[in-house]
């Protein structure tokens, strides 16, 4: 390619870029905040304890899979990412695949909730929700589906109340918080590295100063994982999305979810960061909740463990560490491709169908 050709090519690209910017700007100009809606699948409120709510995703016909599923998401993000939009809804897909779906909504903790620890989350709210679901369906036990931190809470619940858990499904769930050290990757496990670089006193000071861990802290951590991609999304990605109305709305829905980061209750964050990220107490068999030891050996129900090899937040080895540590004779691993959040907001129904298939057999 001659110098003239290169110049012409660059000039054409620049003109095209200008046109794309104009198109994206005009598309953005037509959208208002109220137009960006998420979590629109019909749902009903079943139970409310303080700021925590149990929702049921409404379904028209009886569920094909009899045992209801309680989905628990992390406290660091809002559950509604699981129902981002009609054609990208993990929960809706599960309902369509024949499941009866309930969701734990941790709400937006305030300073009044700062002393809620894992004991409150697991033995208080989760246990109460499980009891309500059992009572509604006349069952002694249900299926738990926990995602990320919600997976850890579900796992601990299953260890402490095994008689109430018929099946356990964990997705992108950390179990061994030091597993990333066995296979260091520049694009994964940043939270583990960062938390280990702090002292126990630093975390205490942070909680003392803040009460709860503000959602913005979590947001900053995620931004630091891929700093330029985080910034580039407001020029390159938005520019790309702005060429198409549907793509733009997808982008804006995800932004809406990202901007709504609930605070993490202080006492639970102290356990999460110190006892798990720093001291790795769960796999060492030293984690105590309300004074009771969390014995993974008590987790003997069928278990489906879902992880992603390309997860940048939870190192796949941290999830795969479940194998051999629980007593489940029926243990299945399901590797999926996609990012930590991406696997739940994908258009593909592969993940929800795989879960429904597994549940059908159990």
């Amino acid at each position: 390619m001659s110098a003239d050709d290169r110049l012409l090519s660059a000039w054409t690209e620049l003109a095209d870029f200008g046109k794309r910017v104009a198109l994206a700007t005009s598309a953005l100009a037509t959208v208002r905040e109220a137009d960006v809606k998420i979590a629109e699948s019909p749902r009903e409120e079943i139970c409310r304890l303080g700021g925590r709510t149990l929702h049921r995703i409404v379904r028209a016909e009886p569920a094909r899979i009899r045992t209801p599923v309680l989905v628990t998401y992390a406290m660091v993000g809002h559950w509604n990412v699981l129902d981002l939009q009609e054609d990208r809804s993990f929960l809706r897909n599960l309902v369509e695949a024949g499941c009866e779906i309930y969701v734990t909504d941790w709400g937006h903790p305030t300073l009044a909730d700062q002393f809620d620890d894992f004991g409150d989350l697991i033995n208080g709210y989760m246990d109460a929700f499980v009891d309500v679901i059992c009572e509604r369906h006349g069952l002694a036990s249900i299926t738990l589906l926990g995602i990320c931190q919600g997976g850890l809470l579900s796992l601990c619940y299953a260890a402490l109340h095994p008689d109430k858990v018929r099946n356990l499904i964990t997705a992108v769930t950390p179990v061994d918080f030091h597993a990333d050290q066995r296979e260091e990757r520049v694009d994964s496990g940043f939270m583990n590295v960062w938390t280990r670089s702090l002292t126990s006193d630093d975390i205490d000071l942070l909680i003392k100063a803040m009460g709860n861990i503000p959602g913005e802290v979590g947001g900053t951590m995620f931004s630091l994982m891929t700093p330029v991609r985080t910034l580039a999304k407001y020029n390159l990605t938005l520019l790309q999305a702005g060429q198409n109305a549907d793509a733009l709305m997808n982008f804006l829905r995800m932004e809406k979810w990202l901007s709504d980061r609930p605070d993490h209750t202080g006492a639970a964050a102290q356990q999460w960061l110190k006892e798990l990220y720093q001291e790795n107490k769960l796999v060492r068999g030293e984690l105590r909740i309300d004074g009771r030891l969390v014995d993974l050996g008590a987790v003997d129900m069928p278990l489906l463990n879902i992880y992603s090899e390309t997860d940048t937040v939870i190192h796949p080895l941290a999830s795969k560490a479940m194998r051999g540590r629980v007593a489940s004779k029926d243990y299945t691993e399901l590797p999926v491709s996609g990012g930590h959040i991406g696997i739940f907001v994908a258009r593909s129904k592969k993940l929800s169908n795989s879960i429904a298939d597994w549940l059908t057999k159990h």
Binding site: A10, L111, D120, G124, V186, V193, M210, P227
Partner: protein
């Protein structure tokens, strides 16, 4: 001078331990009746002339001794602390807030019921803000060489691609490559010990600043008869404890009801 000439009683020469204090009272006490033949008009005149000077000397001596005590008790430590202000390490390492705390301890006095307390808390919040700014500046200082490294990495990557026959041809390709290089370099740096140390400093400075500001805010809240954050935290703590207790009691009640129902069923059955 009127006082010095008519004090109520002499304070010197009372056999008190300690250095002789030629106090203002010595020459001016109620003068004993002059012994016959021991006083003359000239000596009285000299005594009167000397009295103010002796009084002044006594006062200066007292102040000298006070200065010595202050110097011994507070001066050495405060000089050491003030000298530390010139140490660049203090400003780099976020030690200003602890230094002010030490200063407050060095200069502290017993608490007086009707006098305002000596309080440096307002300075402490400024110090923690300076610490925070210092940490932020250090972060900036570290990030400048990082951009040089990014530029070098970008040049190396461009050269490597050109050698491999995949030279960057369009501005779009160049931008993609640049973004990838920046991202990767930052990701590597964000996992380094340098970054961890900086983050830790920044976090400590931020939290300390917040805590110091809270103290100031609490003082204002008290002035306005409003609940302070510490008081509210204590309320939340008690509320949380009561909620837990309530939950336990409900569980116990449910268990008792179940037992009672089971007992009734057994009796009915029998």
């Amino acid at each position: 001078m009127a006082k010095s000439t008519q004090p109520s009683e002499p304070r010197a020469n009372r056999g008190e331990p300690g250095p002789a204090r030629p106090s203002m009272a010595t020459p001016a006490g109620p003068e004993p009746p002059p012994a016959a033949g021991t006083s003359s008009p000239s000596s009285e005149y000299v005594q009167q002339l000397m009295a103010p000077w002796t009084a002044m000397a006594g006062m200066w001596n007292a102040w000298l001794q006070t200065a010595e005590v202050v110097s011994r008790e507070r001066g050495v430590e405060s000089t050491k602390l003030l000298n530390r202000l010139w140490d660049p390490e203090l400003w780099r390492a976020g030690g200003l807030a602890p230094l002010l705390q030490e200063m407050q301890e060095v200069f502290s006095l017993p608490r007086f019921a009707d006098l305002p307390a000596f309080d440096l808390s307002a300075f402490r919040s400024s110090a923690s803000m300076l610490d925070l700014m210092s940490a932020a500046q250090q972060y900036m200082a570290v990030s400048i060489p990082l951009w040089l490294l990014i530029s070098r990495n970008f040049q190396n990557e461009t050269a490597r691609l050109a050698e491999a026959g995949n030279a960057v041809r369009t501005p779009g390709e160049a931008l993609d490559l640049w973004n990838n290089v920046v991202d990767r370099t930052f990701m590597e740096f964000n996992r380094s010990a340098d970054f961890a140390h900086l983050q830790q400093r920044l976090l400590r400075a931020l939290t300390q600043y917040r805590l110091d500001m809270r103290k100031l805010g609490e003082q204002s809240s008290q002035l306005l008869d409003m609940p302070t954050r510490s008081e509210m935290t204590e309320v939340y703590r008690r509320m949380h404890g009561m909620q837990r207790e309530l939950k336990d009691l409900r569980q116990q009640l449910r268990a008792l009801r179940r037992q009672a129902e089971a007992g009734n069923t057994t009796r009915d059955g029998s």
